[in-house]
Amino acid sequence: MILERPEVDRAAFAARTGWEITPEGACKADRCVPLPDAPVDGPIDARMLSDRLGMALVADEAHGLWALGPESGGRALLSAEMPDLELPDRHGRPFALRSLRGTRIVMVAWASW
């Protein structure tokens, strides 16, 4: 997740990583990690999320950018629940995977390279 300052917008963080910031802390699937120093609202310090969730925070000072990696310390999947995912088609029209709920899906990653 690319950041222009070392802080994270709650909604953007949830949309990108699946981690919701709640009164209990940062929560994804059935796991909640307490964030005792988090403010009640507004942006969250990216360094705090990095420390608490094992998300690497890498700075590119020359370009004034930061990137927050995914949570670590376990497996790529925290649970078997498929994270919400919305991606565009080749015409830029967004498609939400959730719209296929009720149907079984085989989702396959490929690439032009």
Partner: protein, 232 residues
Amino acid sequence: MWQELRSELRPQGVEVVTVALDTGGADAAGQFIDAAAPEHPSLIDAEHRLDELLGINNVPMGVWIDEAGILVRPPETAHPGKSVLREMMRGQKVPEDLPPYVLEMLAETAKIRVKPERYAEALRDWAAKGAESEYALSPEEVVERSRPRPPELSEAAAHFALGQHLHRIGEVDAARGHFRAAHRLDPDNWTYRRQAWSFENPLQGPSEHYDSDWLSDVKASGAENYYPLPDL
């Protein structure tokens, strides 16, 4: 390639969704989607979000998702009953005047071990039996089979994200530094390497910017190990 199998599985309640992992977005992947003219959702993931969300580290890899949105198979090598590379090479006489690098690439590609029919058989079984299929795994097993993610892989993902962002805004040399860091931190991630190499050379061949290339790495690790066979 997936359209044919999709036509067979869709009446049984299984939809195919293909996702192109391409930093170049529709400019890179669009022509292939147009040529395939799929009836199923065919999406573009220009930020490689699937790498981060699911632990995908090469293509093609697939996951199975049930009616309730629960993964019943984690990322694994996924072929629609055929191997794209094999189909492209089938019956084609290789011109002898191709550059040596290309000839060697083709020779290594021919050694890559795939069992595409086996994956399609499993998929057909799931389409027919649903949750009763022996190939539908428990949530615990799905998690257990997903890729381990130690801290260095999170750091690799952050560098790769910076590399993609900088490449996209034209800071190509700065991007390369982050791509190199991602490659060093997550050496088993073909997605990171192949995407970055492809910016320098469409064949992912040697360039002055990276200390390796597709052919060298495939030979070093053994072409037979390039695609881990799905544990079916």
